[in-house]
C-alpha cells in the first residue's frame, strides 16, 4: 500500500497528490511516469510524475478526473492509500542546453511539462513557459513555473486571465516577434500537441511531445501502447513517452485512445451512480443517527 501524504484540489476536477514512494522519489527523472492501481478491482493507469520530495520520500502526481479511475482517485484524501504504485517508467526527457527552450502546458499537461521545464532550466537553457487553461480556474502551477522559468505566459480560452487565446497563438506571437526559440516541449490534449507541431514544423524548431496512450503493464510486455512515429511502430512505455512532435501520427494516437470509449462511459456511469447511492446512504444513516 502506498500512503497519500497530501491531497488537495488545485483546479476544478484536478487534484494534486503526494504519495509515499521513497524509491521512486529517489530514482525518478523528468518525463517519467508511474502506473497506479487503486484497489483490487482497479485498472492500471499511467500518470506522469510531476515532482518528488526526497526528505518526505514522496512523489507528486496531478490528476484530472476524467474517467472512472481518475474520478475515483480524486475522491481519495490525505491519509488514504493506493494499492499499487510502480515506477519510475519510461525514458527520462532528453535534456541539454538548447539555448532558448519553450515549455508549453495545456490544462493538466502543465503538470507534466513542469518537471521538464525544471530540468531544462537546470541544464542552462533560457526557459520560457506558456501555460494555458479553458478559464482562469483551469490554469495550474503558475507560481511553480514562475519560480523556475525566465518568462511565463498564461493563456485562457475565454480571456478570463492572461492572454486571450490558445497556447499555440501565444507561441506564434513569440515567433512572429522574432524571438529566438531553439526547442519546444508541448504537453496537453492531442489536438493542442498536434497544433503546436504544425506551428514549429515549417520553422524546423525541434519539438517534443509526451504521448498518453492506453497502457497495461508499462514495461514493454503487452504492446497496447503502440503508436506510429516516423512511420514505424513504437511502444510508448519503453521507447517514450517523449517523441519528436513532427514525426508522431497524432490521428492514430487519438483513434486508438478511443478504443474503450463506450466501456469507459459505462464504468464512469456506474461509478457515479454508486457514489450517489453512497451519499444517499450516508445521508440516510446520518438522518437515522440524528433521530
Amino acid at each position: 500500500m502506498y500512503k497519500i501524504l497530501f491531497a488537495e484540489f488545485i483546479a476544478p476536477n484536478v487534484k494534486k497528490f503526494r504519495i509515499e514512494a521513497p524509491k521512486i522519489a529517489k530514482k525518478r527523472q523528468a518525463g517519467q511516469f508511474v502506473i497506479i492501481r487503486i484497489d483490487e478491482n482497479g485498472e492500471r493507469v499511467p500518470l506522469t510524475i510531476s515532482d518528488s520530495n526526497l526528505e518526505e520520500g514522496s512523489i507528486t502526481i496531478i490528476v484530472q478526473g476524467v474517467g472512472k479511475t481518475t474520478k475515483q482517485l480524486n475522491e481519495l484524501e490525505t491519509g488514504d492509500s493506493i494499492l499499487d504504485v510502480v515506477g519510475p517508467l519510461g525514458k527520462p526527457s532528453h535534456i541539454e542546453n538548447f539555448g532558448v527552450a519553450v515549455s508549453i502546458g495545456g490544462g493538466v499537461g502543465t503538470a507534466i511539462a513542469y518537471p521538464t521545464a525544471v530540468a531544462l532550466k537546470k541544464a542552462g537553457n533560457y526557459t520560457i513557459s506558456i501555460i494555458g487553461g479553458r478559464t482562469k480556474d483551469f490554469v495550474i502551477l503558475e507560481d511553480e513555473m514562475k519560480n523556475v522559468c525566465d518568462e511565463v505566459f498564461v493563456t485562457t480560452d475565454d480571456g478570463s486571465y492572461g492572454y486571450h487565446g490558445f497556447v499555440t497563438q501565444k507561441l506564434k506571437e513569440l515567433i512572429d516577434a522574432k524571438r529566438r526559440i531553439d526547442f519546444v516541449l508541448a504537453i496537453g490534449p492531442i489536438p493542442m500537441m498536434k497544433a503546436v507541431a504544425e506551428v514549429t514544423r515549417k520553422l524546423k524548431i525541434k519539438t517534443v511531445v509526451s504521448l498518453n496512450p492506453i497502457m497495461v503493464d508499462g514495461t514493454g510486455m503487452c504492446g497496447g501502447c503502440r503508436a506510429t512515429v516516423d512511420n514505424k511502430t513504437v511502444f510508448v512505455c519503453v521507447d517514450g513517452p517523449e517523441f519528436d512532435a513532427h514525426k508522431v501520427d497524432f490521428d492514430l494516437l487519438e483513434r486508438r485512445n478511443r478504443t474503450y470509449r463506450e466501456d469507459e462511459a459505462q464504468a464512469l456511469n456506474l461509478h457515479v451512480c454508486h457514489s450517489d447511492e453512497a451519499i444517499l446512504n450516508l445521508t440516510e444513516s446520518e438522518t437515522k443517527s440524528n433521530k
Binding site: 478491482n41 497495461v216 466501456d263
Partner: protein
Amino acid sequence: MEKLSNKERMKIVRQAMPEQDSQVRRNNFQEVNLGFTEELARLEALRCIQCPKPTCVEGCPVGVKIKDFIGLVADGDYLGAAAKIKEDNMLPAVCGRVCPQEEQCEAKCVVGKKNGAVAIGRLERFVADFEREHVGIREPELKPKTGKKVAIVGSGPAGLSCAGDLIQMGHDVTVFEALHELGGVLIYGIPEFRLPKEIVKAEVESLKKLGVDFQTNAVIGMTDTVEELMKDGYDAVFIAVGAGLPYFLNIPGENLNGVYSANEFLTRVNLMKAYKFPNYDTPVFHCKDKNIAVFGGGNTAMDAVRTAKRLGAKNAYIIYRRSDLEMPARKEEIHHAKEEGIEFIYLSNPLEFVGDKNGWLKGVKVQKMELGEPDASGRRRPIPIAGSDYIIDIDMAVIAIGNGSNPIIQKTTPDLQYTKWGNIIVDEATMKTSKKGVFAGGDIVTGGATVILAMGAGRKAAAAINEYLLSSN
C-alpha cells in the same frame, strides 16, 4: 505394490482425463481438465512397468524421479509421492497441467512404444492436487542459514523454481516482480481454464512460508538496477524476467483498433480480469457475437482463441500459414480447441488488416499457401499461391507469433553480454552471465519457450549460485 506381471500391466489402457463437457466449458472459464480420481490414478500408476533403467526421467528437464513417485501412487502413498516429486520440482501442480509431457517424459516411456505412454503428467497433477487439497502443501526442511542473500528478478516459473531451491539451501531470497501479482506468465499469460490462479497462489504461498521474500511493483532496471541490488548487499542476482516485447506481423493495418498482441489480450483477461468488466475496471474487446481471429499456431495462440470463444465469439479462427502438421501447440490444446468449436484455417498468410472509416478492424486479407521443401527448422516451407488472396471478415485480431526480449535490463545493465536479439548470453551448464555474481535463465535467455524449460534453468542456476556463494566465502 500389487503383484502384477508386466504383461498384465500392459493390458491396462491409458486412463483418459475426465474433463468438462466441451459445449459447457466453451462458455465458462473454469478448468477444462478435472483431474484423476484416486481410482483412475492407481489404475494408471499400475501401467508403469517400473523399468530397472527408466528412460522417462531422461525426458524431464528437471529430472523428476518418475518411476519412484508412480510406484508410491500405485501403493496409495500419495503424500509420499508428492514429497518424492518435490525433491526435484517445486511446482508439480503447475507442471502437471502445462508441461508438454508428450514431447518429454511420456515420449521416452517404454510402455508408450506399444500402448499409450503412462500418463505421467496426469499422475503428477493428481499427486500435487491430492496433497494441496488434503493436507496443504508441505514445506521441505531447510538447511541452516548461510547468511548469503540472493535477488531474483521475476516471479515466473524460472524465478520461482530458483527461489525454492535457494531457500532450501539456506540462503536468504528476495524475488522482485514488476507486476502487482506474483507468478509471471502463470498469472498473466496462461488462462484460468488451463491453470487456475488459485494453484499458482498456493505454490507462491508455500514459498512465502519457507521464508522467500516477495516484492511486487519492482521493475528491476527502473526501480533498482542490477548494479544497485549488488551494492545493496545481494551476493548474487538471478535474472529471469521472461519474454518481452511481443512480435507483430508488420503488415499494413496492424495498429487498427481491435488488433491485439496475445500478451495484451491475455493480460487484460487473466491478470486484470477483464472478463468480469465492469466489476473489474479493465475492459477488453467485446467478443460476444463477433468474429475473431488469432494468428499463430503455438500454445499461446490456442489460449487466446479459446479465451475469445469463452468471451462469446460467434466465430473464432486460428489462422496459420503452415499446415496442421507443423503446428507447435500441444496436441491436447489443439484437440480441446477443436472440441470447443474453434475453426482452423491452415496455409493462410495474412497480408493486410482492413478497417472501417473509424479505424476499427473489419477484416484481414490472406493469401493461400502451399508447402514446399523443408526449411532450416525442418518444417516444410510455406510458399504463396499467386492470385489466391481473399478477405476474411473479422472484428478482432490477436497476434500470437512470439516475443522478443525486454529492453529494460539490457538498457540498464550494459555490462552483460547479449545476442543481437537482446537475449542474455549465459554458460548453458551454470546459467552464469559475463558479470560476476549475475546469473540468468528462462525466456530472457532462450527466447519464448516452455514453463518446464524455464524451471529447469531456474534449478540449474540455483545449483550454480549455491556453489558460487559457498566458494566465495
